[in-house]
């Protein structure tokens, strides 16, 4: 296992995080949730930037605080609100990365920077949000990392920039089969495209863990009138929400209802709808 979180707890006043999570080798695991759900807290805990109040975190078998500099070389990180000192230029970043990582690919880094339109001689402070995000990702993937930890790498970017970043990630995974990624976002379509499995987080708790394909193919939203609701097979219903017409109901067996309840409205679920239902819906 590349990364495990077992009953990790962190309390900030009224806010409390409690979660378990796993990232397997060769897989891209997504963490999705609204702003303030706890995604960045999880990332900070994994990266030993904050202490935890309980539970256990293991990165490649080791506790984050016990990782040696050499072990940390196998981890590539991109954080939403933090990056290289903005007084540095890209060429300085290249020199610093070369000094930090024994397996830093200088030429690959330079080529990728050129491809992404990142000028080597300009200070990072003069970069746009998109350029900064690209630089963080290029730096994270240019030293043979076995585990990429990416907190909102596409946040605040336009569609084109987001596409470029996701393409770069996909390309990196194609070339490095043993690499694993933990990526967070509040933009579900970004995760839908690249993630093998997804964790949904709400108010500091994981409310769903499922394969992305399963969410997209099996989950659905049933729209039923109030009098029809009691006749539904309850074991396949996950959450329900009161609507003007009756209930919208989240199911993890959409095909079952399409087959056995002719005439029922069973819309294909998307990640946003599933997340909303899981977070706001009433347990069935």
């Amino acid at each position: 296992m590349m990364l495990t979180l077992e009953n990790v707890r962190k309390n900030y006043g009224d806010y409390s995080l409690q979660c378990s999570l796993r990232v397997e080798p060769g897989r891209i695991t997504g963490l999705i949730g609204e702003n303030g759900a706890g995604k960045s807290t999880i990332f900070k805990a994994i990266l030993n930037l904050i202490s935890i109040d309980g539970g256990e975190i293991r990165i490649m078998g080791e506790k984050p605080g016990k990782l040696t500099a050499r072990q940390k070389e196998a981890i590539g990180v991109a954080l939403q609100d933090s990056g290289f000192c903005e007084y540095l230029r890209v060429k300085d970043v290249a020199a610093v990365l070369k000094a930090f990582y024994r397996s830093f690919h200088e030429k690959e880094f330079a080529d990728l920077c050129q491809r992404m339109g990142l000028p080597f001689d300009k200070k990072i402070s003069g970069f746009s949000t998109g350029m900064k995000a690209k630089l963080k990702l290029v730096a994270a993937i240019s030293h043979d990392a076995k585990l990429l930890i990416l907190d909102e790498p596409t946040a605040g970017l336009d569609v084109m920039a987001r596409e470029e970043i996701l393409e770069l990630l996909q390309q990196h995974m194609d070339q490095n089969n043993d690499c694993s990624i933990l990526i967070s976002s509040h933009i579900s379509t970004d995760l839908e495209k690249i993630c093998d499995d997804l964790y949904m987080i709400h108010n500091g708790s994981i409310i769903l863990h499922e394969e992305t394909d399963v969410i997209l193919s099996n989950y659905g939203i049933l729209k039923v009138e109030e009098q029809d609701y009691p006749s539904l097979e309850k074991q396949y219903l996950v959450r329900r929400k009161k609507e003007n017409y009756g209930f919208s109901v989240l199911t993890d067996k959409r095909q079952f209802f399409l087959k056995n309840y002719p005439g029922i409205v069973a819309e294909k679920g998307n990640i946003d709808e599933v997340l909303t239902m899981m977070a706001k819906g009433e347990r069935v």
Partner: protein, 215 residues
């Protein structure tokens, strides 16, 4: 450690205008006949001060969170600041000393050369103590709070000395008498021991601060 040193030296390189300014003022001070040891103090002080500036740069725009995901251990960060301070401050000191020698040569005033080197070494040690005081404060409180805390420490220090002199009249005088009875070598050895002790305490505090720091 190599990566951290590399980062700080690159940060210094992108600030070359600042250092050109320091160099320009140094030349001006020599040209206006300033005392050489004063100029050494000036270049050394500003070079040491840049070490503190790198701590602020590391924190600028929340860059600290990302920095601490790079492959080094927390205690290495604290140790690197001292090493960088000694190296970079040493460079500033070296430039000051060499420039001072050139100035003395031009003036044809080599009579007090031994005293010149002794004063230069003393300046380096005193300013290194200042750096040892500043680093843990900056690491703990950051730039803004750090300045206020330093001010409080100065007041506390001078207040402490004043209190001591009031509570034990003649105490300082007695202390100086004891020192004057010692040989010059013993005094120097005592000062060096005190200097290393302070420096080690400062390093220990900084390492503890970094090991506990939350981002």
């Amino acid at each position: 450690m190599r990566g951290l040193l590399c980062k700080d030296f690159h940060l210094a390189m992108v600030q070359k205008r600042y250092f050109l300014g320091v160099f320009g003022v140094m030349l001006f001070l020599f040209m206006t006949g300033q005392n050489e040891t004063f100029v050494i103090g000036y270049t050394t002080m500003l070079s040491f001060f840049f070490t503190i500036t790198t701590i602020n740069f590391d924190d600028y725009n929340k860059a600290g969170s990302f920095l601490f995901t790079l492959p080094f251990e927390r205690k290495q960060y604290a140790l690197e600041k001292y090493l960088f301070g000694i190296l970079f401050g040493g460079m500033g000191w070296g430039i000051g000393v060499i420039s001072g020698l050139i100035s003395l040569k031009i003036k044809g005033n080599f009579s007090g050369i031994a005293e010149y080197f002794l004063s230069s070494a003393a300046i380096f040690c005193v300013l290194l103590c200042f750096l040892a005081l500043m680093i843990p404060i900056e690491l703990k409180f950051g730039a803004e709070k750090g300045r206020s805390i330093l001010l409080v420490i100065w007041f506390a220090l001078f207040g402490g000395i004043f209190w001591f002199s009031q509570m034990f009249p003649g105490g300082l005088g007695k202390f100086m008498q004891i020192l004057s009875r010692l040989s010059q070598t013993a005094v120097i050895a005592l000062l060096i021991a005190a200097f290393f002790l302070c420096f080690l305490i400062s390093v220990g505090i900084s390492v503890k601060i970094m090991e506990k720091k939350q981002f």
